[in-house]
Amino acid sequence: MTIKPTHGSALVAGLLFGVGLGYAQMIDPQKVLRFLDLAGPWDPTLAFVMGGAVLVTLISFRWVLGRPRPLLDSQFYLPTRHHLDRPLLIGAALFGIGWGIGGYCPGPAIAALGLGSPNPAVFLLAMVAGSLTYRWLRDR
């Protein structure tokens, strides 16, 4: 395997993401569930996390995509679908149910892998199984 500059930038991006999820406390699933619990003692922290992240991307993505190409690759790889469809709605709805049951979404579950609990690892194995199951049903 040849180590390329894109590998280094992906590693640094992952590190920043993981530390960010730590400060955001999204690696604590109960913190996430307290945000989703509107009828309980609501904890709005996650709104600040999402707000802070989107504030940055709203400004920076405009600037980045104004350039002809990324620094380390020949092209930008952007989403190609733009219309609303049934899989988007059903998929997002199912994802939200799973998020509300376990308090983990994919990023925090990965960032919490090294914290000593077996929960994130079990969650991630099931997540991969769910993803492969959807692909199998779709391609059948």
């Binding site: 992240a53 993505f61 952007l78 199912l94």
Partner: protein
């Protein structure tokens, strides 16, 4: 509580910075579910995805054991809850083409209508699910 909000803003800012770096450097969207799905393809061109995933694990460790003011609480092992939650998250994010990071952090930054609809949808079902589990069924994560 208010301290948590500031740390939330800081954490969110770092996540936004991470997404900026990945787009500016690699031309890629920092959507974790998509990165994982692509990593499972395991072709040579997809090696960068494993570096991102490795960084994500390392970032969690760096925070917990180097930067955190207090340890992140841990909970009992709940295999059934995790399997059910994980399966729905994996199935749903593959079907809907993204999760909190891809549709939320990046999609909203791109002003994508699909992502806005996805975020509203998964937030809504997340709110409803927690209302049902905590207040109608009286369950907690155990």
């Amino acid at each position: 509580m208010v301290t948590d909000w500031w740390y939330g803003l800081l954490g969110g800012g770092l996540i936004g910075l991470s997404a900026t770096l990945l787009l500016a450097g690699n031309g890629r969207i920092a959507g974790v579910s998509g990165i994982v799905n692509g990593a499972l393809g395991l072709t040579r061109a997809e090696i960068w995805r494993w570096f991102f995933i490795g960084g994500l694990i390392g970032g969690g460790l760096l925070y917990e054991y180097g930067l955190a003011a207090r340890p992140t609480p841990s909970y009992g092992f709940s295999p059934f809850t995790m399997v059910l939650a994980g399966f729905l998250v994996g199935f749903g994010t593959r079907m809907g083409g993204g999760c909190t990071s891809g549709h939320g952090v990046c999609g909203l930054g791109l002003l994508s209508r699909r992502s806005l609809v996805a975020v509203i949808t998964f937030m809504t079902t997340g709110f409803i699910t927690v209302f049902v589990t905590r207040h109608l069924l009286g369950l907690g994560l155990t």
